[in-house]
Assembly symmetry: C2
Homo-oligomer: 286 residues x 2
């Protein structure tokens, strides 16, 4: 058995096409959409991500407005910038790059992001909203996992899902998105004693632990769907996921690789959220 | 095998003794603690719960201040009352009785509750805080489960826990409290296809589904610890949990019953939170 590839780039293209056609319509009405990025870091991976967002914005027709604060800024400066962007009617989406300056916690400033511009689901009110199954944006990476599965017609309702990893931006939000879709969800993590016991019975395994090669064939049941959300860099600087593709592909029915999986869907969703707003409807499956 | 009883009343007594001695100290300093309850409902179970809180307050030495709004009140009236109570330095804890008036959603008004008075963890900022393992109050019923287990010396770290039920006040907060304690957590619910498969491998099973008799011996592994959080009423008006005690007691090592389990711990915690504040330290085990 060799796993089918769940291609994130295909899904991202489809989402981006939708955004482009929405932008065309807005342009006819004389409207311009703008994504605002607050950056107070010189972290190289953040810098290259911002470059990628600038390129994607140019492709979609969304203006990307990067405000760079001093890496020594305090919480009040960050908050003020977010309040200005929230109040600015020419801005439609707001994201905050991490790491923030020392002593500034995203949780303490993110409630300054207007809910309807909170395209990466950072505001605690957004969290409280979508945890309860209400509207509001969830973190884009977590949403990208659901979108990738939906677009490939993989049923979530009644499925058994194991999420490996419990970060605030992926594991925890994802578990709620799966719960809201009626999946039975297990969360495993670095302190889980028998990881394979927690993953082998799952029909969907999401690897979001940040450990290269953590998930191998022995962790995966026959015919499972495996989504790799790992974002690790090899000493040579290559992007690699959490899944040992070789051994997993012999057991899984389908596998979303890194690179070529979740990352591009995440970017596409940030722009879709900026263009279409919080009422964005799910797309039909591929 | 017959399960040991995890007695909630014992734990509640211990917490209450602590609160009483803290109140004695505060009284020596001329301080009086007050729990404020906002009620805009004539629901009989809410009414009897408020009566129980009044009795408990009298026992602990905490004033209980019940503000009754008209059941036809709007969100703005509820918010205004919560803001007044938050600004009132003579009030130390704030809880909101549900159901709220039609059209008023607790999520939309709870951010008016000052974080340091949010003794039942209703404010979305509290949620965002403790989900991330930070400080802040979690909903008292969910906290009571953890407290009951801790007080009986049951290890959470590395354990496999299944929570049955995904409500905003018990199941969802509880899953995060267990995750913060390094348990591997599964959440099952009404749409779970094979409930026994999700519960049998767990060393701790929490029943919080609101279905009398849902959890039977076939759902429980030998030697598991079972916590019943069900609050159901029989046609005769008797309180009953979600666990079929007879069959579960033959397999479980320990069982927290209803009544006599979580309920009294929850009440004791609301008052401890009001007396000691958000910095309340866990007690030593019984």
């Amino acid at each position: 058995m060799s796993a089918a590839v769940l291609d994130g780039r295909l899904v991202a293209s489809k989402i981006t096409e939708c955004s482009i056609s929405s932008v065309a319509e807005l342009t006819r009405n004389g409207e311009q959409r703008t994504l605002y990025i607050l950056s107070a870091t010189s972290d190289p991976s953040s810098t290259s991500y911002v470059q990628a967002l600038l390129r994607h914005g140019a492709r979609v027709g969304v203006r990307v407005n990067v405000e760079r604060l001093d890496p020594g800024s305090g919480a009040e400066e960050v908050r003020s910038a977010l309040i200005r962007a929230s109040d600015d009617p020419s801005i439609h989406g707001i994201i905050v790059q991490t790491p923030l300056p020392p002593g500034v916690d995203l949780r303490d400033v993110a409630d300054a992001i207007a809910m309807d511009k909170d395209v990466d689901g950072a505001n605690p009110h957004s969290l409280s909203n979508w945890i309860s199954g209400g509207s509001g944006f969830a973190p884009a990476t977590a949403s990208a996992v659901i979108e990738l599965l939906d677009q490939h017609g993989i049923e979530l309702e009644g499925s058994r899902v194991t999420v490996v990893g419990r970060s605030s931006v992926v594991g925890k939000p994802l578990l709620h998105l799966f719960l809201n879709r009626d999946a039975t969800v297990t969360v495993a993590h670095s302190k889980t004693r028998d990881l394979a016991a927690a993953t082998r019975g799952a029909s969907i395994v999401v690897a979001a632990a940040g450990h290269p090669g953590l998930i191998t064939g022995e962790h995966v049941g026959e015919g499972a769907v495996v989504i790799d959300v790992g974002t690790n860099f090899t000493p040579e600087g290559h992007l690699t996921g959490d899944v040992d593709t070789g051994s997993v592909a012999t057991k899984a029915a389908a596998l979303s690789p890194v690179p070529g999986g979740i990352g591009s869907v995440t970017t596409a969703l940030l722009f879709r959220n900026t263009v279409i707003g919080p009422t964005a409807r799910p797309l039909l499956p591929l």
